[in-house]
């Protein structure tokens, strides 16, 4: 029987940190993609954002619906004609509890189809002192091309020990 859930690629950020985490040359032979992240930003003050874009495409190709909470407030917002799918203030950084990384799960069904690509994004960034955030986000990449690259970017660098795993799920 064909393997259903396969690791395509992984990234572990080294000692120098990394501005982005990127998966390229993604084979078109699976049905869905899942990305699991464990990330922390090097930002020394203020908050850190995380954003995801596909096939190197910025511009106005994305839309999103976000629902977030920080322990005090719940916010629902949305964007259209947007340059990426993002989570604001979500990533733990140098102002957060030490050795604490945010976790995310991103699922993209039918990533190789000629339809628009819908994304399911869940992100949590816990912190034992000040505010931290949880997001559930519906993303949309309004593009008929199969996804061949995924870029995870953020405010400043991702620090050492940040990890990202790209899995392919096959329904064959």
């Amino acid at each position: 029987m064909a393997t259903t859930f396969t690791l395509i690629s992984s990234v572990t950020v080294g000692g120098g940190g990394s501005a982005v985490i990127e998966f390229t040359s993604i084979p078109q032979t699976y049905t869905d993609l899942q990305i699991l992240l464990s990330v922390r930003s090097s930002t020394a003050a203020g908050n850190s954002n995380c954003f995801i874009y596909l096939n190197g495409t910025f511009g106005t190709s994305y839309a999103q619906q976000r629902l977030s909470g920080d322990g005090s407030n719940v916010v629902s917002d949305s964007q259209t004609s947007y340059p990426w799918v993002d989570m604001i203030n979500a990533i733990p950084n140098a102002t957060y509890t030490a050795n604490t990384f945010g976790s995310a799960q991103i699922y993209i069904p039918n990533y190789a189809s000629s339809n628009n690509k819908s994304l399911s994004v869940d992100f949590v960034g816990e912190n034992n002192s000040t505010t931290s955030y949880i997001y559930i986000t519906a993303g949309l990449f309004q593009n008929s091309s199969g996804i061949t690259s995924i870029t995870i970017d953020g405010t400043d660098n991702f620090v050492q020990y940040s990890t990202a795993y790209l899995y392919g799920i096959s329904n064959a």
């Binding site: 029987m1 393997t3 259903t4 859930f5 049905t31 869905d32 994305y62 839309a63 999103q64 619906q65 976000r66 629902l67 719940v74 916010v75 629902s76 917002d77 949305s78 259209t80 699922y107 069904p109 039918n110 189809s113 339809n115 628009n116 819908s118 994304l119 399911s120 869940d122 559930i136 986000t137 519906a138 993303g139 949309l140 309004q142 799920i169 096959s170 329904n171 064959a172």
Partner: protein, 167 residues
């Protein structure tokens, strides 16, 4: 080595359908995951929902958390005839902008009622997370997906059921 994550069944609709059913689900897995990528026929948006083992009686309960871009809220219904898996994050007639991830853990355990955790995503309408309860200890052997009245799943909608083994 025993495969941990296996496809049980998949379907891509060749024509519009009111329901999609996965039947004869084997009881040999630990948990189930159902992935949908769908759109609907009705221009007045309708929510997606599911039932287990053809039970259309008032044996379901659900609690949901949602965001529509302009409002965040929660809902709860009890003694209902179905569980929503896309309530405000419902599919629409425009492209395949909707997806859902539905987790059904411990689905074949006959000592417990069955719970569902679903995440639904439509960047144009809403995002939600819903927990549902089927008050029945029977093993789940079928799952029927449906839309609210006056709408069908369209041609090209995809539905895949996976089984996860813990041993």
């Amino acid at each position: 080595m025993t495969a941990t994550y296996e496809k049980i069944a998949t379907t891509t609709l060749g024509s519009n359908q009111a329901t999609v059913t996965f039947s004869s689900i084997p009881g040999t897995y630990t948990d189930l995951v159902l992935i949908t990528n769908e759109k609907q026929t009705n221009t007045s948006n309708r929510s997606s929902a599911l039932r287990f083992n053809s039970d259309s009686n008032s044996n379901y309960t659900q609690t949901g958390l949602y965001g529509t871009g302009s409002a965040a809220g929660t809902f709860r219904t009890s003694s209902t005839t179905l569980i929503y898996y896309g309530f405000y994050g419902y599919s629409t007639t425009s492209n395949f902008n909707f997806n859902s991830i539905i987790n059904i853990n411990n689905y074949s355990n006959t000592a417990v009622n069955k719970t569902v955790l679903s995440r639904a995503n439509n960047a144009q309408n809403g995002v939600d997370i819903i927990v549902g309860l089927w008050r029945n200890t029977a093993a789940i052997t079928s799952i029927t997906l449906t839309m609210e009245t006056l709408s069908d799943f369209t041609t090209g909608s995809t539905f895949t059921l996976y089984g996860i083994k813990s041993a």
